[in-house]
């Protein structure tokens, strides 16, 4: 299956890109995607734990199973206002 992964703010700077399509094995959970991403992008591995994650614009927990076509984002600390 394929998901679209988005990067914002400091995570976009760390990744050097704003989005990418990712091929993943069926049944991949959100936290497993985070572990892959953190391995590839050392500045993100410095995060003590998985940051807040969103799938299709809703906050989700790490155990959420991804589906084909999902839009996924790991979010740096938000700072609106």
């Amino acid at each position: 299956m394929r998901v679209n992964l988005l990067y914002f703010a400091s995570f976009r700077d760390a990744a050097g890109r704003a989005e990418e399509a990712r091929e993943l094995p069926d049944g991949t959970r959100v936290v497993q995607l985070w572990e892959r991403v953190a391995r590839e992008i050392p500045r993100l591995a410095a995060f003590p734990a998985m940051p807040p994650a969103a799938v299709n614009h809703e906050y989700v927990g790490g155990e959420t199973v991804l589906r084909d076509g999902d839009e996924v984002a790991f979010l740096p600390p938000v700072a609106g206002g």
């Binding site: 906050y59 740096p76 600390p77 938000v78 700072a79 609106g80 206002g81």
Partner: protein
Amino acid sequence: MYITFNPIDVGALLNEARPSDGGVCVFLGVVRNENEGKPAVSIQYEVYGPMAETQMARIARRIAEEWPQARLQMQHRAGSLGVGEVSVAVVATAPHRAEAFAACRAAIDRIKASVPIWKKEFHPDGSSDWVDPTRKNL
């Protein structure tokens, strides 16, 4: 739409008050000229647009449940803002002040906690930083 690249028209938000509203509570967030002792000249607001709209709509629904007599108007800016510009506006109206204050306070607190918006501060020397509100707690 809750997110806008254009200046926020606070007057238009105030005009949404109903004849039965005796209390109107306004919160405006404004770009400051410093943060944590570092001078700032502008802030770039980056927004995950579709998710921000979804989350602000959720905040509005929850507040409507918790304070059924209050009505809420909210807008948040995206893009580059100078010192003194309004970055966020919350207007809560209700028949009486207690609900207006409570709904307004809850809305701005929840916006700051959960809406995917980030800000990059630009300093007079041209350098810039992403603001991390969690860092000061370390």
